[in-house]
Each structure stands twice: as structure tokens, then as C-alpha cells.
């Protein structure tokens, strides 16, 4: 069992490194991987270095961070809700982000405010982040009062639908241009993050991952349910809050900067469980991170190759996995 995990960890890490280089190689100008590696080590022509460092490296790093973050939060939600189909967006994190962005992108033009492109991109990320943070605060406040975790799940779904309806009303009254920029945001993009924004994105993700590591033992105990976990001395509300905050930092921040990227959070933890055949989060957490990075790098390579939005690719990759999960046990 231990041997299997070691081999898998080695293989997955190697795969991530290879995919990372391939991701740097693919783009509007195809660069042979050997030249990518050369450029990474400061060799090769100036043009190559500019393309690899200034244009593609940030995007590839964003893919790595987003893949890790979304899949960790999926793992956390599945344990917290004891439901294999839970994901980072069931709590309404993406609904909150979408609402913030809709208010900003659709609302500002209605009020006759015109913004420069830079302000628009920064404002979009900020609005999304505030939107998901507001939802988080509401969720944590509710979680204190509502003991039943299934009720929380249903509230999350209702919240998403409610927000969706309000956003649709706003879309109906919006100008074509505002509507387009909102729809493009909902398709997700790893390439719109600037190096400066990465300086904000990266530390927040690292903080979220650190909290996820701190939650490993509580997650293992919560596998047996809250009753048992409490009987073994776990402070349920504190652990639940730790997990919820970690999820919002991870999923909320990625959604803010890259738009809603679906199906990574639901599908990846199951891939990790199937590969590693373990329920121990000391194995599952790193396994989920590596699998998530792999999935999003593959997604980004395909997105660049076929020039498609990332959200459609992750959906097409994730949906068969989810279908497999729900039909397998029958």
C-alpha cells in the first residue's frame, strides 16, 4: 500500500513537471520543449525568453495554483457534507462571485460609469472576491445556528439559483457590450491574470493550503460523522469554520481572478481516491493537489491548442468522471 502511494506520487509529480513545460511550449507560437527548458534556464534567444517568461509563465503558474486550489476545496466540501457530489461551488461561492461581477460589469454601465480596461479587470476580481467573501460570512454565520449540514447544502443550492435569477434580470436590461464582458468572465480564463495580480493570488492560495493541512486530522475524524468526531474530542464548529474559510480562500480567490471553473472540485478528489485507494487525508490531500494540477494543466494545454474557454474544457473532462462516479456503485 505504501509502495503504491510512493510510486504514484513520483509519477504524478513527474507528469506535472512535463505538463508544465508542455503548457509553456503550447500557444499561438509553438516553441519546442527543449527551447522552453533552455529559456527557463536563461538561455536561448531574447524573443523566446520574453514569450516564456513574460507571457506564458504567469499563465502556467496560475493553472497550477487554480488546479490545486479548486480540487482541495472540492475534497474539503465532500468530507464536510459527507456527499460525493459536493464541490467548492455548492456553498454558493461561485454564485456570490458571479453576483459581485454581474453588479460590477452590468451595473456600472447602467449607471453610466465608464472604466479603463485595467480598472475593469481589477474591479472584476475585487467584485468577485467580495461577492464570495460575503457568501462565506453568511454561510459561517448560518453554520453556527444550523446543525444539519444537509440543510446548509440545500441553502447553498437555493442561494445559487436565487442569485442566478437576479443576474438574469440584470442581463436582460444590459447593453450588448456589458453583457459580453460578463459572459466572457463566466467562461473562465487562466490567461487574464497579470504578474501583479499573481502576487495577490499566490499568497492567498498558500494560506488556504496551509489551513487545509491544519485540517487533515479533523477531516480524517469527520469521515466517521460529526457524532463520532465530537466523541473523540474534536471541536466541531471550530473545525467546520477552518474548513469553510480555507475553501473560500481557495475557491473564492481562483474564481475572482479566473472566473468560475467548474467540475475540477467535484471530479479531482474522486480521481485521487481511485488512484491511491485511500481514505486517509494525509495521502489524499497531496494526491488531490497533484491530480488537480495535472487536470488543469491538461485543460489549459487543450484550451490554448483549440483556442477554447477553460470552463468548457474542464466541464467536458469532468462530466464523464462525475457520471462514472454516480453510476459505478449501482
Amino acid at each position: 500500500m505504501k509502495g503504491r502511494s510512493t510510486i504514484l506520487f513520483t509519477l504524478l509529480t513527474a507528469l506535472c513537471v512535463v505538463l508544465f513545460v508542455v503548457d509553456l511550449a503550447v500557444g499561438s507560437v509553438a516553441i519546442p520543449p527543449s527551447k522552453v527548458v533552455a529559456a527557463l534556464f536563461g538561455k536561448g534567444s531574447e524573443v523566446m525568453q520574453t514569450i516564456v517568461f513574460d507571457i506564458r509563465l504567469v499563465r502556467a503558474i496560475v493553472a497550477v495554483l487554480a488546479g490545486a486550489a479548486l480540487s482541495i476545496s472540492g475534497l474539503q466540501m465532500q468530507v464536510l457534507f459527507r456527499n460525493p457530489l459536493a464541490g467548492p461551488y455548492v456553498l454558493g461561492v461561485s454564485a456570490g462571485a458571479s453576483f459581485g461581477v454581474a453588479l460590477f460589469l452590468l451595473g456600472a454601465p447602467m449607471l453610466g460609469i465608464a472604466l479603463s480596461p485595467e480598472l475593469q479587470s481589477l474591479g472584476t476580481a475585487g467584485a468577485a472576491w467580495i461577492g464570495s467573501a460575503v457568501v462565506l460570512i453568511a454561510v459561517v454565520a448560518l453554520a453556527r445556528r444550523i446543525k444539519d449540514i444537509m440543510v446548509m447544502l440545500i441553502l447553498g443550492i437555493m442561494l445559487s439559483s436565487g442569485v442566478g435569477a437576479v443576474v438574469e434580470i440584470m442581463q436582460y436590461f444590459s447593453s450588448e457590450m456589458a453583457l459580453k464582458s460578463y459572459v466572457v468572465w463566466t467562461m473562465g480564463s487562466l490567461g487574464d491574470v497579470t504578474a501583479t495580480q499573481l502576487m495577490v493570488l499566490a499568497p492567498v492560495i498558500v494560506a488556504g493550503v496551509a489551513m487545509a493541512i491544519a485540517a487533515i486530522k479533523p477531516m480524517n475524524m469527520l469521515l466517521a460523522g460529526e457524532r463520532y468526531a465530537a466523541s473523540m474530542g474534536l471541536n466541531i464548529s471550530r473545525s467546520r469554520n477552518l474548513i469553510l474559510i480555507s475553501t473560500t480562500l481557495l475557491a473564492g480567490t481562483v474564481t475572482a481572478f479566473c472566473g468560475p471553473i467548474g467540475f475540477v472540485g467535484i471530479a479531482v478528489p474522486h480521481i485521487a481516491r481511485m488512484l491511491f485507494r485511500s481514505a486517509d487525508h494525509r495521502i489524499l490531500l497531496p494526491a488531490t493537489i497533484l491530480s488537480g494540477i495535472t487536470m488543469l494543466l491538461v485543460g489549459d494545454i487543450l484550451a490554448k491548442y483549440f483556442v477554447l474557454p477553460i470552463n468548457t474544457i474542464t466541464a467536458l473532462m469532468g462530466i464523464p468522471i462525475v457520471i462514472y462516479i454516480v453510476t459505478r456503485r449501482r
Binding site: M1, A214, I216, K217, N220, M221, L223, A224, G225, R227, Y228, A230, S231, M232, G233, L234, N235, R273, R277, S278, A279, D280, R282
Partner: protein
């Protein structure tokens, strides 16, 4: 060992148990019986959550969660079926109150887990996926988890429900040995009077919002009266 003194318990607005007291001592194997809805689960829950429950003289209200976890282990009616969760790892969960923040098992923890699995006769199942076990096997594993928690008190909610008749007797015998050989105080709710009668030291009988604890010999008549009238 564990005692409730003049406690009233209600569920929503309905009073379930009025002004009840119950004392259990170390090494005592006691069956909790009563009709459906009489308040067996409510009582068991109160024994780990009511602030006036006393364990060795200390009220729960003054006890840290950690201390409580090292004093009382529970086995609920819930069937834990988690894919890929090995029998060994499920039992090792019981070590949680003793391990570090990562839940790292020391050699001594592994030894305790191994012994707990042996004690319930599941030695051959150590590396098996717990979700593939039968109800009876899983119930034994859950008891092993409680043993691994190394608490002087174990509370079980209907541990023999959904088991076939031979397994019911085996589980009762196993719990009796645990109480009598290890000196643990064990209280379990059950409808299975036939399996409990030969091995229990005492019966706590719930009827009309009150609890009466009787030694097994004297309990037979009372139980007959309540359940077979």
C-alpha cells in the same frame, strides 16, 4: 464511575425523562431497555453531553473535550461505510484523542489498535476495506474502535440491531467479557432481552418518564411485565 442525578431530559417541548438518576460502576455491564421512543437514545446522548453528568465525580460542564474523549467512547446506530477506509484505519480513529495534530500513530498506538482488533475477533480483516464488511463484522470493528479509544466507559446505542441471532449473542458475550475482564463500565441500549439476560449484570429499565435499575435476577419479572403484557 458515571452518574446522573435528578436530571430531567426533554426533546423539543416534550419531557422524555423526569427527575431521573442512574449510577453505574466500573466493571458493570448494564442493558438499557424500554419501548420505542421511551428515551433510550436521549439518555445515552445526555451521558456524553449533559453538563451535570458526573464521571468519577467531575461534572461534564467542568471537563475539557479532550478529557471527556479519554473517558467515554461511543458506538452509535450509524453504519460507517467509507470506501477505501481500511479496518485498521477505522479502528485507529479511536486513537485520535492521543495523537498529535497530524494524527501520527506511534508504535504504542499501533499495538493498541492491533489488540483492539484481536479482542473483537477481527484479526483476519486488518487490511480489508471496511465498506466491504457485513453488518455484524462492521459492528465488531466499531466496537474495536471504541476499545482503542481506551476509555473506562463505553456507551452503545443498539449494537445488536440488524444483526442475525447468533451474532447478537456473540456481540453481547464480547461486551460482557470486556466489562468483566477489563473492568470497563458498559451501558448499551437494546430490544434484545434474550441475548442480554444471560450476560448482563443489571438492567436499566425506562418506563413512564423514569428509570429503574435492577440486578438481572430481579429485572426479569419487571421486563416480562413491561414487554409482554
Amino acid at each position: 464511575m458515571i452518574q446522573l442525578e435528578n436530571i430531567t431530559l426533554s426533546y423539543d417541548t416534550r419531557t422524555i425523562l423526569r427527575d431521573v438518576s442512574l449510577h453505574l460502576h466500573a466493571g458493570e455491564f448494564c442493558a438499557l431497555v424500554g419501548r420505542n421512543g421511551a428515551g433510550k437514545s436521549t439518555l445515552l446522548h445526555a451521558m456524553t453531553s449533559h453538563r451535570d453528568t458526573r464521571i468519577n465525580g467531575t461534572a461534564l460542564g467542568e471537563m475539557s473535550a479532550e478529557r471527556l474523549a479519554q473517558s467515554v467512547a461511543i458506538v452509535t446506530t450509524e453504519r460507517i461505510r467509507i470506501e477505501n477506509l481500511l479496518v485498521e484505519d477505522l479502528v485507529a480513529m479511536g486513537r485520535a484523542p492521543y495523537t498529535n495534530w497530524m494524527g501520527h500513530l506511534q508504535d504504542i498506538d499501533r499495538e493498541i489498535v492491533g489488540k483492539a482488533i484481536e479482542a473483537v475477533g477481527m484479526g483476519d480483516f486488518v487490511g480489508r476495506d471496511s465498506s466491504s464488511l457485513s453488518d455484524g463484522e462492521l459492528q465488531r470493528v466499531m466496537i474495536a474502535r471504541a476499545i482503542a479509544q481506551q476509555t473506562p466507559i463505553i456507551l452503545l446505542d443498539e449494537p445488536t440491531a440488524f444483526l442475525d441471532i447468533p451474532t447478537r449473542f456473540e456481540v453481547c458475550r464480547l461486551l460482557a467479557d470486556l466489562a468483566h475482564n477489563e473492568g470497563k463500565c458498559i451501558l448499551f441500549s437494546t430490544h434484545d432481552v434474550d441475548a442480554a439476560l444471560p450476560v448482563c449484570d443489571s438492567f436499566a429499565i425506562i418506563e413512564n418518564e423514569s428509570i429503574q435499575k435492577l440486578p438481572t435476577k430481579q429485572a426479569t419479572f419487571e421486563i416480562e411485565r413491561i414487554f409482554k403484557r
